[in-house]
């Protein structure tokens, strides 16, 4: 069984797994969507979401990460509230203005240990489920 069901987003005839999320930071919040990327370690959100949250991107912990296309970019990690459906917890979310695409990416770190993602490309549906267990803050 699953808790949430996201039909794949279809852009230009290509179906891709997106989820809607809400981020909470310093008494404000932003509602956005992110490409669920099981191949990415960090989640990386862009400047538009950062601006919505009133977040200074560079105030976070700096990390250099390599993208699938070989480029190295700087990502700044921030701890903040993360919500998908009724699942609400504190997560580490990366922000960068160097990603080079307009999408936000939802990576594994601090997310995939709380939520289980099932990519059903046959049905073109992303299923998301709560993972039972004791989690670190």
């Amino acid at each position: 069984m699953y808790d949430y069901r996201f039909p794949y987003r279809l852009w230009y005839g290509i179906s891709s797994p997106f989820v809607t999320v809400r981020l909470f930071y310093d008494k404000t919040s932003a509602t956005a969507e992110a490409y669920a990327d099981s191949g990415a370690f960090y989640s990386i959100f862009g400047p538009v979401v950062a601006a919505s949250l009133g977040l200074t991107i560079t105030a976070g912990a700096q990390k250099r990460v390599r993208l699938a296309d070989g480029r190295m970019i700087t990502v700044y990690l921030h701890r903040m509230g993360f919500r998908l459906g009724a699942e609400h917890f504190t997560a580490t979310i990366g922000f960068s203005d160097e990603l080079g695409i307009g999408f936000n990416l939802l990576g594994r770190f601090s997310i995939f240990d709380r939520l289980m993602f099932c990519f059903n490309d046959y049905e073109r549906i992303l299923y998301v489920s709560h993972i039972e267990g004791e989690h670190e803050g």
Binding site: L10, Y12, I14, T20, A30, T31, E33, P47, V48, S52
Partner: protein, 93 residues
């Protein structure tokens, strides 16, 4: 964060005094974007859209979309969607 549910569709955040869609309502908006994807690809490639209640309340190429949305609807937290250019969609394969 303290919230109250309004009309079953929105959450009212008592700290920010803004409305945001409930998850169920947000899913309806998400599906609405899916249904209108072709139209949005034609009109807004490479643009960010701020959506509230099935209406595009602001369009922009960056963070200004949020400022414009706040100017139009300072009482809400809009749903921000990015419409890719075709090359970006291919990158997602």
């Amino acid at each position: 964060m303290a919230v109250e549910i309004k009309e079953g569709k929105y959450e009212y955040d008592t700290e920010t005094e803004k409305l945001a869609p409930t998850h169920e309502e947000l899913m309806h908006w998400f599906l609405w974007v899916n249904e209108h994807a072709s139209e949005l690809e034609e009109k807004y490639p490479g643009k960010y859209l701020a959506i509230w209640d099935y209406e595009i309340i602001a369009v922009g190429e960056g963070a200004e979309v949020y400022e414009e949305a706040q100017h139009r609807r300072p009482d809400v937290i809009p749903y921000i969607v990015y419409v890719p250019v075709e090359e970006e969609a291919v990158l997602l394969v």
